[in-house]
């Protein structure tokens, strides 16, 4: 697996201090308040968190896909040394789809309903793969049009779509959700992008279809050398699919660690609560939940945004945002319970994290 070399190789995608605000009727809402993560070559990174924590906004702001009116983005997004945040919308275009691709939650609604699948994938093939079209043309001695069709056929078969001729003539409403997501994967991976952002890519699918799609995604990306940012609210999928997990809470990544460590030894109280809320067969225990609601982003709590719901809250948590602390080389957590510098200690609280873990 990738864990052994993540620390040595250069990240393909590096997101630094990403901040996004939206205008709202009650003033500016800070959706992201400094998101940091790195994605290493060949890696699958899960971005998990509750609905509304800013996972999708993170994904969209990487490709500058947020609505343009009134949205402010700050920070840095490095792809291979190039800061995408500095690019204009037009300059961003060659990156979209070619180097960073994206697939969305509802596969059917993300396919244009008035064009056939063929018309849509042909356009993308002509856009991305002019060299490959020429190569296929020469190799098989066929016309450019036939070459495009040939490439489409190969790519369809690659994602396990059969009966290609019929599918190419079909519309989005004529195919199933699973087929639609396979098609979306085929189009997203057309140009073997460095990064694929999968935003809840399997959440709308049946469980059985889901696992097929996950396996497909994993093996295809490994073959093409594409790293994945896998956005999900499903911890089970994150565990099954990903090398590392980043846990997001209210616009910030609160804990990042290799999958194994996060499930065996979660550090942040939010991560602990999240894991305690996952149902386990045969445990016989009542399902735990995290008390309280996700914070109102127009009027967020001061300091650590999790503090009103945190069972181990300390005085300092209410004042200042906790910095990222290293548990070890690969495990970071943004919480005052850890690290050398602790500005205050709560009465009746030990430094030992409580709850699910006892080391």
């Amino acid at each position: 697996m990738m864990k052994s070399n993540t620390s040595v190789s250069q990240p393909v995608l590096r997101v630094r201090n990403l901040k996004v605000d939206f205008p709202s009727s009650r003033g500016r809402v800070r959706i992201l308040e400094g998101v940091n993560f790195s994605l290493y070559p060949g890696e699958i990174l899960a971005l998990v968190g509750e609905t509304g924590c800013g996972k999708s906004v993170t994904a969209k702001s990487i490709l500058n896909l947020l609505p343009r009116s009134g949205v402010h983005r700050h920070g840095e997004v490095f792809l291979d040394g190039c800061d995408l945040m500095k690019l204009s919308n037009a300059a961003m275009r060659p990156f979209r789809g070619r180097r960073i691709a994206m697939i969305f939650q509802n596969p059917q609604s993300s396919i244009n309903p008035v064009f056939t699948l063929g018309e849509q994938i042909f356009r993308l093939i002509r856009m991305y793969l002019s060299d490959e079209i020429k190569a296929v043309q020469q190799r098989l001695n066929i016309s450019g049009r036939a070459a495009v069709g040939q490439i489409a056929k190969e790519r369809f078969e690659e994602v396990g779509l059969t009966d290609v001729e019929r599918l190419l003539k079909s519309y989005a409403h004529q195919i199933s959700g699973g087929m639609a997501q396979r098609y979306r994967i085929a189009t997203a991976l057309l140009s073997s992008p460095e990064v694929l952002i999968a935003d809840e890519a399997t959440s709308a699918l049946d469980v059985t279809v889901q696992s097929h799609i996950l396996k497909l995604l994993r093996s295809l990306c490994r073959r093409k050398g594409t790293s994945i940012v896998f956005i999900t609210h499903d911890l089970g999928i994150a565990a099954q699919m990903c090398d590392r997990v980043a846990v997001m809470y209210s616009g910030r990544i609160v804990e990042t660690a290799p999958t194994l460590s996060i499930f065996e030894a979660p550090r942040h109280p939010y991560t602990q609560g999240l894991l305690a809320a996952v149902p386990r067969l045969g445990s016989g225990k009542r399902l735990a939940n995290i008390p309280g609601m996700i914070p109102d982003l127009a009027n967020p709590p001061a300091g650590c945004r999790f503090h009103p719901r945190c069972p181990q809250v300390m005085a300092c948590c209410k004042e200042e945002k906790p910095p990222q602390q290293d548990i070890d080389e690969q495990h970071q957590v943004a919480c005052y319970l850890y690290g050398e510098h602790v500005p205050c200690l709560p009465t009746g609280h030990s430094r030992q994290p409580q709850g699910a873990i006892v080391e």
Partner: protein, 338 residues
């Protein structure tokens, strides 16, 4: 796409609607007080002459029987005889319909092209002064009463500026020097077919103000609908997905967006045809345009019920034909429509 069952369903629908419509108009127009026979025979008639006319027209028979007779004749294409002009209604309609449709179709075609263009532009420049201006103008266009707009246009373009004629279809002297020959009844087409360029430009010149008066409502409606429909489409997942795959903004907007936004717009175009045909009633009277509106108005005033029936059935047919053709277009544009 199976058009045959769709069209046959539509034809049956048309027949049912026309029967209902004819019954409604027949019984309503006949229950208006007024002696139809006296109207038919003209002023200064003796009572026995009126009585003879009543028998001749079958007006002494029960109303239901008269209706059945009327419908029987209708099936063989006979719409009866105008009580006022004593000419066959069918022949009159054949002459008048093209004159009105010429103006209506120009208005609709221009409203469609301009409306989609302006609506698209407003959506593309959402929130800018262009958008605000187009929104304001289209609201004004929908709200202004057509007769008032027609009078206003006359005031400005004839009275103040003198750019366009006050009324009529062609200048009187041209009617003698270069008379229109009847081929299709559409004067612009006829004058082109017969090489009568002088008449062509003269008729077109006369047509400008009536078309402008008629265009306002459908143009405003289509502009507003195109704008809102396009904005909704542009916020859909498939547009986001296409943008994420690096497709050019112009392609996104004009190929993907517009194509998806067109379906509701086409429905409104179909509905506007009938509305505009009704609006020509005012416009033709104001501009003294010898079309169906003028013909129908005089028929209403003189209780000329065969003409009223003919006009109503004709408008009903145009309505269904317009909507059916728009539905066919929608099916071509949007494969989801079954």
């Amino acid at each position: 796409m199976s058009l045959v069952p769709f069209l046959s369903r539509r034809l049956i629908g048309l027949a049912v609607m026309l029967v209902a419509l004819s019954a409604l108009v027949f019984f309503f127009s006949r229950s208006i007080p007024g002696d139809v026979a006296a109207m038919y025979i003209g002023g200064m008639a003796k009572p026995e002459q009126i009585e003879r006319a009543r028998q001749e027209l079958g007006l002494d028979q029960p109303l239901t029987l008269q209706y059945v007779k009327y419908m029987k004749k209708l099936l063989s294409g006979d719409l009866g005889i105008s009580l006022r002009t004593h000419r066959p209604v069918f022949q009159d309609l054949l002459e008048k319909i093209p004159m009105s449709m010429e103006v209506v179709l120009w208005a609709i075609a221009l409203a469609m092209v301009l409306g989609i263009g302006f609506g698209g532009l407003a959506a593309l420049r959402q929130g800018t002064w262009i958008d605000e201006g187009i929104k304001w103008l289209s609201s004004a266009a929908v709200s202004i009463p057509i007769f008032f707009l027609a009078l206003l246009l006359q005031l400005i373009f004839f009275n103040l500026l003198g750019w366009f004629p006050l009324q009529g279809r062609i200048d009187t002297f041209l009617e003698f020097s270069n008379p229109l020959e009847l081929v299709t009844g559409f004067s612009l087409i006829d004058s082109l077919l017969t090489g009568n360029h002088a008449a062509f430009f003269n008729v077109a010149w006369h047509m400008v103000l009536p078309v402008l008066s008629l265009i306002a409502y459908p143009l405003g409606l289509i502009t507003r609908l195109t704008r809102s429909s396009l904005l909704e489409v542009m916020s859909q997942d498939y547009i986001l997905a296409a943008r994420a795959s690096g497709i050019r903004e112009s392609v996104l907007f004009f190929r993907y967006g517009l194509r998806n936004a067109l379906s509701p717009v086409l429905t409104v175009v179909g509905l506007s045809v009938a509305l505009t045909l009704l609006a020509t009633f005012y416009v033709e009277i104001i501009f003294n345009w010898p079309g169906i509106g003028y013909y129908a108005l005089t028929a209403i005033l003189s209780l000329d019920y065969p003409v009223l029936m003919g006009v109503t059935l004709m408008i009903g047919t145009v309505y269904v034909v317009a909507n059916t053709s728009m539905d066919i277009l929608r099916r071509i544009v949007d494969p989801r429509i079954k």
